[in-house]
Symmetry: C2
Subunit: 454 residues, 2 copies
């Protein structure tokens, strides 16, 4: 190949290769919602002024889109606010660490914490540490997450975040640092809520990025004592304002129990909440509109853009909704809160009497690349309380979660990560499902004892 | 497929999918150098105590590997140190921005800068702004980089970082923010040095990540005035200690002009300098050892692990080396400073009289996946001064740079980004080249007027 041909080939390759720096261009209702929320509101943590601005934005958007009975329903909740967060190893090597505090973390002492760091390869290893053995020390738990296609890893891998701090505190630790519950390799640690068990003192709790956890593991492997300096000033604040936004597309027969579609409006503060969960709100909303494009649906469809998903329960949007709307008849609930990648798996929690309805949904979805999977549908956090209280039927439209935990709860949860084609596939699948379920005249009931609930 | 089969398939997929969170396991001299520098030293900015620790570490490592005449050669240089760095849009929307200061940036006023932000889509648009039109304002230049296989994009795309601040200052700007000169889509902005032209006042200068630049572009597209709050407290500091580390593998005929292999030891402070440029030092050093595995080479091979590449010239490791070793005879120089991806392109700046030597190198490299490309070899920053002064022949072993600017000068420049197999391919290609060139008995001369130099 001569030089000119090579240069031409190189030039062409520039345009052929994926260009991450350019935002994907999208269009349509779903894209507009994600673009608008991430651009005009951005991070909107539960209980914050930004979450309040997001409610006003959402109400105006739903009204503009033609939803009826649009309302903001506020409630008070405990919340948490981020502060300063820095950490560095000081011995045997000086190494700054990329760290972020977990929700419900309490502050380190004035001037920061200087302590020995104790390495645990897994959460089980931390559990096995003798009582009192961590007195005054910082526990590091190197509990690595692996990606799964359906998000099932969030249970076993995410447990280090949910219960690790409480376990370390019981053993006397002055603070805990975990390897992020995340599957990427960037210096952006993953935040998320932790819960301290009844009677356990809250301690400063943080997560380092995967490359930082790799580093700590390599340092620990050298067998020398490790010293750390840690400053985390984030702290809980009680009695903050949060709220849900709801809106409806009234059905031809408003006396029939309605279909409830859930997502959440709040986001973590590090990113702009594009995949968690502006996309979910965008998908359910655009799908409801698309489903009635050829005429009104039989049943009313209500969208619930919930507040305080990330820090709730005990008081999140799910709980407030279930309490406030307990007297209204719901037929079935569905939620979108797992990003914006393609839907591939259908799960149904429908009574045997609704088998024909289930078959109609299966038939509607397989041309869209979605196949039926046995096993219960679970719904999601924002519809969990109403599912439990009213024993609702549930449909899950399972998204590809292979890359979800690359971005989840990180600064990288931004608009450029949303693929407009995949987003539209979500809308198409939801709309096809709604056209079946919201036009079903008879009773819709869930399998007894299966799925849903908190 | 039934549920059990699906579960088994999902389980298998967990192990089959690429797992970013686990560090790549490597072995061998090159891996050990990158692993050691990133683990035991970490960030080592020019002029810092960490760079001094890195020199001691490197001297010990070269001696342990059997290099002779290992020496630390210190010099003084102007340097720069990072401070606090925060930015947020305050109007029309409140949005925190992921920002980092550029080397040679000066601090914002006490309490930060609050100003109007003016959007420029490209560096040319900034150049076209009328004199004085930016008085008291912050210029934002949305000059997006695209990946190229050979790094050729660093010229046109990187110019926004090198000259943008100087241009904005001339037009009266109070500060400048650029879209990072980088090709990734993470919230990790790219730092790097900027230079203020003679007689131009230094101004606070920062870069935001690509997703943040996308956000600013979307906000700008809405046509409302944009207000920003900016705090950058990083600042230059003069007369800091830096230094080179050199070591030799003496040849069978020490009277012959030597082969010089360059890399740099300093790194930017945000990451641990794994690909920039611990890998380069690892590659040249391991290759020199591998080349003499079957017996001593004819010529002496010297490695130069240079200090202060990132902030130099006028006073970097390259300049100090050329001054200090001006009286010594060098035959040819080569450098590795473009990451750790596979080598694919050979370029030669050799005199026609050395055509047979060039053919031997071509023949040695094509089985390793490296093909000859016409055009001059350039060497690199650390060997530039000696190439210029002694008119040295140069060989470039060009690496795949498609993903280099995803990581370059970011917090993400960490060990997990180095592929041990690709690293070893680099060592193999360098060793094969050295076996030819360091065993060549006759004169080695470069094409007159081609390549190399500063």
């Amino acid at each position: 190949m001569n030089h000119k041909i090579l240069a031409a080939a190189l030039g062409a390759a520039v345009f052929a290769s994926p260009v991450c720096a350019t935002p994907q261009q999208g269009s349509g209702v779903a894209w507009d919602i994600v673009e608008g929320l991430t651009t005009e509101i951005g991070p909107r943590p539960a209980g914050s002024p930004a979450e309040a601005r997001a409610r006003e934005w959402s109400k105006a958007k739903l009204e503009e889109l033609g939803f009826r009975n649009v309302a903001i329903e506020t409630f008070r909740t405990d919340a948490w606010t981020r502060g300063e967060e820095t950490a560095r190893l000081t011995s045997p090597y000086v190494q700054p660490l990329a760290i972020t505090a977990l929700g419900n973390s309490v502050p380190t002492p004035e001037g920061g914490l200087k302590a020995e760091l104790v390495y645990f390869p897994t959460l089980d290893a931390l559990k096995a540490a003798p009582e009192g053995s961590l007195e005054g020390k910082v526990a590091f738990v190197d509990h690595a997450m692996r990606p799964t296609q359906d998000g099932s890893g969030y249970g076993p891998y995410g447990d280090v975040r949910r219960s690790g701090p409480s376990i370390a505190s019981k053993k006397g630790a002055a603070a805990i640092i975990i390897r992020s519950a995340g599957t990427d390799s960037h210096r952006n640690p993953h935040t998320g809520v932790t819960k301290f068990a009844e009677g356990v003192s809250a301690i400063p709790s943080g997560a380092v990025s995967n490359p930082d956890a790799d580093l700590i593991a390599r340092v620990a492997a050298r067998g020398k004592p490790i010293a750390i300096e840690l400053t985390l000033t984030g702290k809980p604040f009680p009695d903050a304002p949060s709220g849900n936004v709801i809106g409806e597309l009234p059905g031809r027969d408003p006396s029939l129990p309605m279909i409830l579609l859930g997502c959440h409006l709040d986001s973590w503060d590090l990113g702009t909440g594009a995949i968690d969960d502006a996309s979910g709100c965008a998908i359910i909303t655009a799908a409801a509109l698309q489903a009635q494009r050829d005429g009104k649906l039989l049943r009313t469809v209500r969208v619930l853009w919930a507040g305080n998903e990330e820090m709730g329960p005990p008081i999140g949007g799910a709980q407030d909704y279930a309490r406030r709307h307990a007297a209204e008849a719901h037929a079935l609930a569905m939620e979108s809160d797992f990003g914006a990648d393609r839907i591939w798996a259908l799960r149904l929690s429908l009574d045997e009497a609704n088998a024909a309805l289930g078959d109609k949904i299966k038939a509607a979805l397989w041309p869209l690349g979605v196949v039926y999977h046995p096993g219960p549908a679970h719904g999601g956090a924002d519809i969990s309380a109403i599912i439990r209280d009213q024993k609702l039927a549930v449909i899950d439209l399972g998204q590809d979660g292979t890359h979800y935990f690359d971005l989840h709860h990180t600064p990288d949860d931004t608009l450029d990560k949303v693929d407009p084609d995949a987003l539209q596939q979500n809308v198409d699948v939801w709309a096809a499902t709604l056209k079946v379920i919201a036009n079903a005249p008879g009773e819709i009931a869930r399998v007894e004892g299966e799925g849903g609930g908190e």
